[in-house]
Every structure is written in structure tokens, then in C-alpha cells.
Amino acid sequence: MPQLLRLQVRRPNHRRVRLWIPVLPVLIVLSPLLLLVTLAAILACLVFRINPIWALVAAGRLLCALKGTHVEVDEPEALLFLDIR
């Protein structure tokens, strides 16, 4: 599972924004909201006749697979940097 998310954004005429987001603490803080989102997702799965367990497993795998993702677009006018570790 990813542990740290590094994000940098720079737009024309704006200051550069740098964020270091520790994933696990953020997930713990947002856990009540995540619980609501999960319940809504389960309901949506039942409505659309999708197995909710498989859907949750697949979503969890997708989240875990994000580790190692690196996106860097550096141009004179803008910068986007995303690194998931």
C-alpha cells in the first residue's frame, strides 16, 4: 500500500504548491467519510448488480497498485509532479 504521496503544482502567475501527504494517517483521519463512501459504493453495486465484495477487492488492489507511480510534466509555464511511494 502507498505510504507517501508527493505533489507539486506550479501554474503561471501562481506560487508553487508542494505537498507531502502521508497516506495512512490521512486515511485514518478520513475513515468516517470513507466508511460512508464505502456504504454508498456497496449500495451502488447492489443497484447495478455487481458483486460488492469483488468490487471492494478490485478497488483495494487498484489503491495498492498505485505505489511506484511517478508523473512529472515540467514546462516553462507550468509544472506537475506526482510521486506515490
Binding site: 511517478h70 514546462e75 516553462p76
Partner: protein, 146 residues
């Protein structure tokens, strides 16, 4: 002892070979068996060094496009590709039909209903050996697996 070892001893008993020759043959046979059992034989190396990421690197010089020099560096884990296909396989066929229509309108005629997790494994294996190098005076593009 296997069949070949017994044959060597039989030849020794019948006097067809000397004791020294039998010992050499048995040694050679043992070494062959060890090599066959060895997990790190060269035949297994490609599987051990399987690529984990797809990397796209673009370097643009000042003259490219008029916006000045730029750099794009993207690394996508193959695991993300696998997880995405698994998630896509849960989408109902009606929804996939609509997605296909929209993709076709956008000029990407891909049939997502035909995309199965086993296909993605074949694709990743094929991508493993792929390298794309575009070298122009004002831009360099590299697509490879690592």
C-alpha cells in the same frame, strides 16, 4: 539411482568399461542432474527479471512547439494496469457498450468488452521487450519497460 546410473554399473560389471571410466561417467551424470535441478539456470533468468514499470520520457528543446524546453517523465506500474483491468471487468456490459461508443466517437475504436485479465498478462509480457526511441533534433522520446 536412476536408469542411466544402473546402466553404467551394468557395463562395469560386464567388463565393458573400467572402474575409472565408470566413476567419470557417474560424476558427469551427477553434474547433469544438479544443473537440471538448479533454479537459477539461464533458462529461468528472463522470468526473474520481469519488468515492473512502463516508463515514458520526453525531452523537448526550446524550438519544439514554441513553448520553450519541457520534460515529461511518467512511470506506470504494470500492477496498476492489472488492477484497472480487473476493475473494468466488473463494469456491467451495458455501461461498457456506452464507453465503447464514446471511445469510438473520440477516435479510439477499442472494444472494452473483449478485454480480459488474461489478455493483459500477454500484453505485459510482450511489452517487456519493447523499447521505442524517437530521436529528433528538437525532441527525444523514449518508451521502455524497467
Amino acid at each position: 539411482m536412476n536408469e542411466q546410473g544402473k546402466q553404467i554399473l551394468q557395463m562395469l560389471a560386464e567388463g565393458k568399461i573400467t572402474a575409472n571410466e565408470a566413476a567419470r561417467l557417474l560424476d558427469a551424470l551427477e553434474q547433469t542432474e544438479v544443473r537440471e535441478r538448479e533454479p537459477s539456470s539461464p533458462a529461468h533468468e528472463p522470468n526473474q527479471r520481469r519488468a515492473k514499470y512502463l516508463r515514458v520520457m520526453v525531452d523537448m528543446s526550446e524550438s519544439f512547439g514554441g513553448d520553450g524546453p519541457g520534460k515529461v517523465n511518467v512511470r506506470v506500474p504494470f500492477q496498476l494496469l492489472r488492477a484497472g483491468v480487473q476493475l473494468a471487468s466488473l463494469i456491467p456490459p451495458q455501461a461498457l457498450g456506452r464507453v465503447n461508443e464514446e471511445l469510438k466517437k473520440s477516435g479510439v475504436p477499442v472494444d472494452l468488452t473483449q478485454l480480459k485479465p488474461q489478455h493483459i498478462e500477454e500484453l505485459i509480457e510482450a511489452l517487456d521487450e519493447m523499447t521505442v526511441d524517437v530521436d529528433q533534433p528538437d525532441a527525444k522520446v523514449r518508451v521502455f519497460c524497467e
